[in-house]
């Protein structure tokens, strides 16, 4: 057998066999993996929508995205199959990289139910405290019951962290304060030493809320 033929043959046979194996393994595992994904999403939705028992489904399988590709929104349904609130995925730049959160909001979009960080790469012990559970009051717990109306409409233009521009049109639905206890119903306290991450969270949520209102209304 000449070398050329051997080369083609060996590589092709190896390729065929391995693709066969991979495809077989894929066929076996794909349903499981997809199920994990679904469950994960569902779990997150139910976690941020405490009253929801069910979500609006997409052909009976997945929770249906009623939003856009940019802002995924899911409708939560309570035991009575009435709307229990919306869960949406807010995403934007933090101190180091992208922060991704699942947020639950009341059906009239006035009050946050809960916030859960899905992904973040902030500094552990610092920015990462937006997601970490600590012995002190957790940062994310502050979002439960937070008013999302905006008490004033001061522009957010002075915020200097980088990345997504906070355009002046976006109202401060919620706000963060530093070194003092929040006294307005739409305020949360920033994490000491991680103001940047805290403000990023607030700003991402504000932007998403802005878009959410456009979608829902």
């Amino acid at each position: 057998m000449n070398v050329t033929k051997q080369m083609v043959l060996v590589l092709t046979v190896v390729g065929v066999i391995s693709s066969l194996l991979m495809a077989a393994s894929d066929t076996l595992t794909r349903p499981l993996i997809e199920q994990h994904k679904r469950e994960e999403l569902q779990q997150a939705i139910f976690e941020v929508l405490p009253e929801a028992k069910e979500c609006e489904r997409d052909g009976g399988q997945e929770c249906k995205n009623i939003g856009t590709d940019e802002l995924r929104v899911y409708k939560g349904l309570n035991a009575a199959n009435e709307i229990a609130g919306y869960a949406f995925v807010a995403e934007g730049p933090g101190f180091q990289g992208t922060i991704q959160m699942m947020i639950g909001i009341s059906p009239d979009l006035s009050q946050l139910f809960s916030m859960k960080v899905l992904a973040q790469v902030e500094t552990p012990g610092l920015g990462a405290r937006i997601a970490e559970e600590t012995d002190k009051k957790d940062f994310f717990e502050q979002f439960a019951g937070l008013q999302a109306q905006g008490m004033d409409s001061v522009s957010a233009g002075s915020q200097k962290y980088q990345g997504q521009p906070t355009t002046a049109e976006i109202p401060n639905f919620i706000q963060s304060v530093k070194n003092e206890t929040p006294d307005e119903p739409n305020e949360i306290q920033a994490i000491t030493g991680a103001t940047i991450s805290s403000k990023a969270v607030v700003s991402i949520i504000n932007q998403s809320l802005f878009k959410l209102r456009q979608i829902i209304q």
Partner: protein
């Protein structure tokens, strides 16, 4: 099922295409080179780690064949690879008679007179510029150990007398020290050469006597007592042993008034 078929088709297709290309390229673009490069390359682990200091195994192989890379330079390959390469390169280790470096000066601090206090860079090379490092003898060991630093096998050490001593066990006769010694005091000799004139001074007797208590004063006693005719001859002001014909001789050693001629004993296991 379609997935599996598609997967097989696309993967198989890509493999076939690429291997075809590679095969074609191999025919058309093959570059002739020293066949030993291929062999060395085959002996290497092929990790392409770059740890040898060359960019990749093939580069290392080329340099080995070209002779400017250490044969044992491949860390992942370890000793075994080094041996294989040695075999390919024809560096026959066992067949050659073992040689050992010999330092031909016995004028350490105790024996050699000083001319000045040397306050310069403490290497032999540097001392050469500045009055020979403060020893009166212009030919002897300066004792700053360039040979010691240069030996890749830790085979030379300085003794208390500030003379370098070669460990015959460790010495591989690589010749690094021979090159390093600015006074050309070190020579490589087969281990069956055991009797040496441990002096390189070309000075006349009185000058040598002043400079060193073990220097060759050209008294010709050894020549007279040579065990074989012309076994030891005078080379200028220095006795010279012709190792090819002259066996070691206790009498010569005994008669040398300066104890310049000595017989070394190699203790090799």
């Amino acid at each position: 099922m379609t997935t599996i078929i598609l997967a097989i088709l696309s993967m198989g297709g890509m493999c076939a295409l690429l291997s075809f290309l590679l095969a074609g390229a191999d025919k058309k673009l093959r570059v002739e080179q020293d066949p030993r490069v291929e062999k060395v390359l085959a002996a290497l682990p092929g990790v392409n780690c770059g740890g040898c200091g060359f960019p990749g195994c093939s580069a290392f192989a080329e340099h080995v064949v070209a002779g400017d890379a250490r044969i044992n330079g491949c860390a992942p390959g370890g000793q075994a690879t080094a041996e294989k390469i040695a075999a390919i390169m024809g560096v026959e280790v066992g067949s050659m008679e073992k040689q050992v470096a010999v330092v031909l000066c016995h004028g350490g601090t105790k024996e050699a007179a000083r001319s000045a206090v040397y306050n310069g860079v403490k290497t032999c090379r540097a001392a050469m510029f500045i009055g020979g490092g403060g020893k009166l003898c212009y030919y002897g060991c300066m004792g700053y150990g360039d040979c010691v630093t240069v030996c890749p096998f830790d085979a030379i050490a300085m003794n208390d007398n500030l003379l370098p001593v070669v460990d015959p066990q460790k010495c591989t006769a690589c010749g690094k020290c021979v090159e390093a010694c600015p006074r050309h005091l070190i020579e490589l000799h087969p281990i069956n050469h055991t009797m040496f004139v441990f002096c390189k001074s070309q000075d006349k007797g009185p000058a040598v006597k002043k400079a060193c208590s073990v220097g060759c004063i050209a008294c010709r006693v050894c020549v007279k007592n040579s065990p074989i005719e012309n076994g030891i001859v005078m080379n200028g002001n220095l006795a010279s042993i012709d190792h090819a014909i002259c066996p070691p001789s206790d009498i010569v050693v005994e008669k040398c008034p300066m104890k310049t001629i000595q017989i070394v004993k190699y203790d090799l296991k």
